[in-house]
């Protein structure tokens, strides 16, 4: 079991990443807070020894994604979450359209697009984190980018 100091340090370093992934999947505050706390409880109780901060971050991303998927699959989570809640997120007007477009993507595209474009992970790294084939990740990235371009009316710059 990890100490309070370790937990505090991990939260300082990775809380934003965990929160963004929660938003990416859950799109509402209540579930986001639940999963946020669940992830850091798992971190505190986990006996995993991390080789580096990168290893620790990848572990937290993987655990967060799995926790979000578990919640979405949960029998008790019957209610659908309106996309409008995303509008409550603290995003500037200029970028809210992009955020909405990303959040509107199917789940498999969403995580790949986020990890690549925001967290700067390469396709093999994303494949490792998500437990997918690298070629599958490349395919998801290409299709996700195309969908975003379509959604944003060819506004994407093709990076």
């Amino acid at each position: 079991m990890r100490s309070e100091a370790e937990l505090t340090r991990a939260m300082e370093m990775h809380a934003d990443t965990v929160k963004r992934i929660c938003v990416l999947y859950l799109k509402n505050h209540a579930d986001t807070e639940d999963i946020f706390q669940t992830v850091f409880l798992k971190y505190t109780l986990s006996p995993t020894a991390f080789e580096s901060p990168e290893h620790e971050k990848a572990w937290l991303i993987r655990v967060t994604i799995n926790a979000c998927k578990d919640l979405l699959r949960s029998f008790f989570r019957r209610r659908t979450v309106p996309l409008q809640e995303a509008a409550e997120l603290p995003v500037e007007e200029a970028h809210s359209e992009v955020l909405e477009a990303v959040l509107a993507l199917p789940e498999s595209y969403r995580s790949v697009i986020y990890l690549h474009y925001y967290e700067q992970y390469t396709a093999p790294q994303i494949a490792d984190i998500l437990g997918k084939n690298t070629n599958t990740v490349y395919t998801l990235l290409t299709r996700g980018r195309d969908r975003l371009r379509d959604a944003l009316g060819g506004d994407g710059d093709g990076t």
């Binding site: 079991m1 309070e4 937990l7 505090t8 939260m11 809380a15 934003d16 965990v18 929160k19 963004r20 938003v23 807070e33 946020f36 706390q37 850091f40 409880l41 505190t44 109780l45 997120l89 603290p90 995003v91 500037e92 200029a94 970028h95 809210s96 992009v98 955020l99 990303v102 697009i113 986020y114 474009y117 925001y118 980018r145 975003l148 371009r149 506004d155 994407g156 710059d157 093709g158 990076t159």
Partner: protein
């Protein structure tokens, strides 16, 4: 697109309040789990101790410390534990097995069990016919053996044709290999010591009275051959109501 996506996600941050709540809740949950684990471990340890204690008690309960061999023909053995309870009843030959089956002796105190056997219809009828009742106490725990011997001697004190004596276990250890009860085997050994030619199978089929008569005959003839005559005929089984420590010469 990379820039736009980055800009779209950048403002999403974990608020300080969320972090504080999380820290508080996580530490509380972790402490709760730690307490639960300690509680579970304590329960497991307590259950383990109970199982161990139970196993030790069972082991102690089912460990024989004395055997009471009651022989008239039928022959019956009562195995007694350190708590003075009968933990096994073995009948020898068909009539012994029938007697064992007819009396509910398991887990009774040895005193109750001996009383039931001695006052049973089968044994009283045998005694009425002039048969000899031998009660041999095979000692594994000497103190308990003495106590049992005192009890059986006392409870049969007024009865004719009864002998009660203690037997060292190592001296009659081969009894069951020969299909004999401890008490009968001791007399068989005495007959052998006197030069008798009796087989164990023959001894098994004989009553205690017949065996003692045989022993007396062999003892007398041995005394006739041995002019010194120092031990002949003094086999300890003579007379009525012999109580004490038996002896044998094999």
């Amino acid at each position: 697109m990379e820039h736009k996506i980055a800009e779209a996600f950048r403002p999403i941050r974990a608020e300080e309040a969320l972090k504080a709540r999380t820290l508080e809740n996580v530490l509380e949950a972790a402490a709760r789990r730690r307490r639960l684990r300690v509680k579970r471990l304590s329960l497991c340890a307590a259950a383990g101790c109970c199982c161990l204690l139970l196993a030790v008690l069972c082991g102690m309960y089912f460990t024989p410390t004395s055997v009471i061999s009651i022989d008239v023909n039928p022959s019956l053995e009562l195995t007694v534990n350190r708590f003075d309870r009968v933990i096994a009843v073995n009948g020898y030959q068909e009539d012994g097995e029938a007697l064992a089956a007819s009396l509910d002796l398991l887990h009774l105190s040895y005193s109750q069990a001996v009383d039931r056997v001695v006052t049973s219809q089968t044994v009283t009828e045998c005694l009425a016919r002039g048969e000899w009742l031998s009660i041999a106490v095979v000692e594994m725990d000497e103190a308990q053996g003495e106590e049992i011997l005192q009890y059986v001697s006392h409870c049969t004190a007024g009865t004719q044709n009864v002998s009660c004596h203690a037997v060292a276990r190592e001296e009659v250890a081969q009894a069951h290999d020969h299909g004999l009860s401890y008490g009968k085997y001791q007399v068989y050994l005495d007959i052998c010591a006197q030069g008798g030619t009796l087989t164990a199978q023959e001894a098994a089929a004989m009553t205690m009275r017949e065996l003692l008569d045989q022993l007396q005959e062999d003892g007398l003839s041995a005394a006739g051959e041995d002019q010194s005559g120092s031990q002949g005929g003094q086999n300890g089984w003579q007379g009525q109501g012999f109580h004490g420590r038996g002896h044998h010469g094999c």
